[in-house]
Amino acid sequence: MRDFIKLEGMDSSDLKALISLAESLSEILSRPIKKVPTLRGRAIANVFFEASTRTRNSFELAGKYMSADVINFQASGSSVEKGETLWDTARNLTAMGIDAVVIRHQVSGIPGLLADLLDVPVINAGDGMHEHPTQGLLDLVAAKARKGRLEGLKVAIVGDVLHSRVARSDLWGFQTMGAEVTLVGPPNLLPAELGVAMTSNLEEGIKGCDVIQVLRLQHERQKGGSIPSVREYRALFGITGPRLAQWAPDACVMHPGPQNRGVEIDSDVLDGPQSAVLDQVRYGVAVRMAVLYRLLGGTHDI
């Protein structure tokens, strides 16, 4: 493994190894001194062309917990605004001795193309509507921690799947690990032709589920004509306490954040015993440590 771009097409053995590595490394987060010397002397650039707080912080802490030097490059206010192409930005960073590039970009496919261009490992921190593979991986780790397994789990991904990179990474990740995934949402926000089970009936979609991943509803979808109103969306697809109790009392409920409380998910669910959202955040750091260690630890086995 040289880069970490997408979960689609990844070998189940590679995925399993990353999951168990992340599980092992999560122990570091509970130590009194949260630092191991593993990536001492390695420099990592977080290159974010799109605003993000959680993912960037998570990558930064993951690097620092492993003793790497981490710099954050924000596109706004940078050379990018002076017309520099992202390819030049990236080449300049590697010329400064950066050992790995973590990139978020609003355009699908950019991290993959960057990986073709650069000699150093490239890690996708989310690209357009394509994938968010570290999020997908952390969702696998969090679900496994709750359910003890991934194989055979019934997983529902609920919401605006069409525009969601998280949904795509989750879909491929859970499928590869032997879970059974159903996409749930309004038909105009579901990716038709993907060959995956889909339903627009929430009850049908989540009944008896082991895992429910609730996606964030982007408010601009209403303006774009995809949903009539936030109120109607909540009425049809909101994950509420009573619905959960009735249809999926054993499900672990996840949300990639940031959450719209009272829209796609209610507070009693989010703060209740079935919620795994804080596990997700916690495992997020471990997963990113695992990916950094997998790509930077050891000589490259290309």
Partner: protein
């Protein structure tokens, strides 16, 4: 390849019992001791020493597990190696930690283990117990408790086999062919 048996089952049992006695004697009992086995073969050895100490002192000292993969100083020269988690759940502050490993060779593993331990706390002392000391140290490190001192050539290999992981107890010295050393 030529193989020579260095320790058999009984030899190993006696060596580990002797180490247990020495640990108790050196530390005037077993009350403050924490055994820390280094993955992978140091862990079952630590458990055996634990049982031996219990037989001698009627005290069950804790056994903790340490994976030093994240602390190696040569990881960038080696292929990627997955790590397993360490399990250090007992406070080690102000206690005597006895590191347990199968073979002491260059000393680099022990260096890494001491670095790792320091991330968990500040022991009163760290001591080292090994089943075999084969020499060739690259760092100023020595063992406090040694099952068997074994002069070796650098090109030789020492293979430790344990019932828990390998089905039998045996230490073998393997000489490569055409070795003049």
């Amino acid at each position: 390849m030529a193989k020579a048996e260095i320790l058999d089952h009984d030899g190993m049992r006696r060596a580990l019992m002797r180490i247990a006695h020495e640990i108790v004697e050196r530390n005037h009992g077993a009350s403050d001791i924490v055994l820390v086995g280094i993955r992978s073969r140091g862990v079952p050895l630590a458990h055996r020493i634990q049982q031996n100490i219990e037989a001698i002192e009627h005290v069950l000292v804790p056994v903790q597990i340490l994976d030093i993969g994240l602390y190696r100083d040569d990881w960038f020269q080696r292929p990627f190696n997955p790590v397993e988690s360490s399990k250090i759940t007992t406070a080690i502050n102000k206690r005597v930690v006895v590191l347990v490993d199968d073979v002491l060779f260059t000393g680099r593993t022990i260096r890494a283990a001491m670095d790792a331990l320091s991330d968990y706390g500040r022991p009163q002392a760290i001591q080292l117990a090994v089943l075999v000391d084969r020499g060739h140290r690259e760092l100023p490190i020595r063992a406090d408790f040694v099952g068997k001192n074994l002069p070796t050539a650098r090109s030789e290999k020492v293979a430790v086999r344990l019932e828990e992981s390998d089905g039998e107890d045996q230490v073998v010295l393997i000489k490569p062919e055409n070795d003049d050393a």
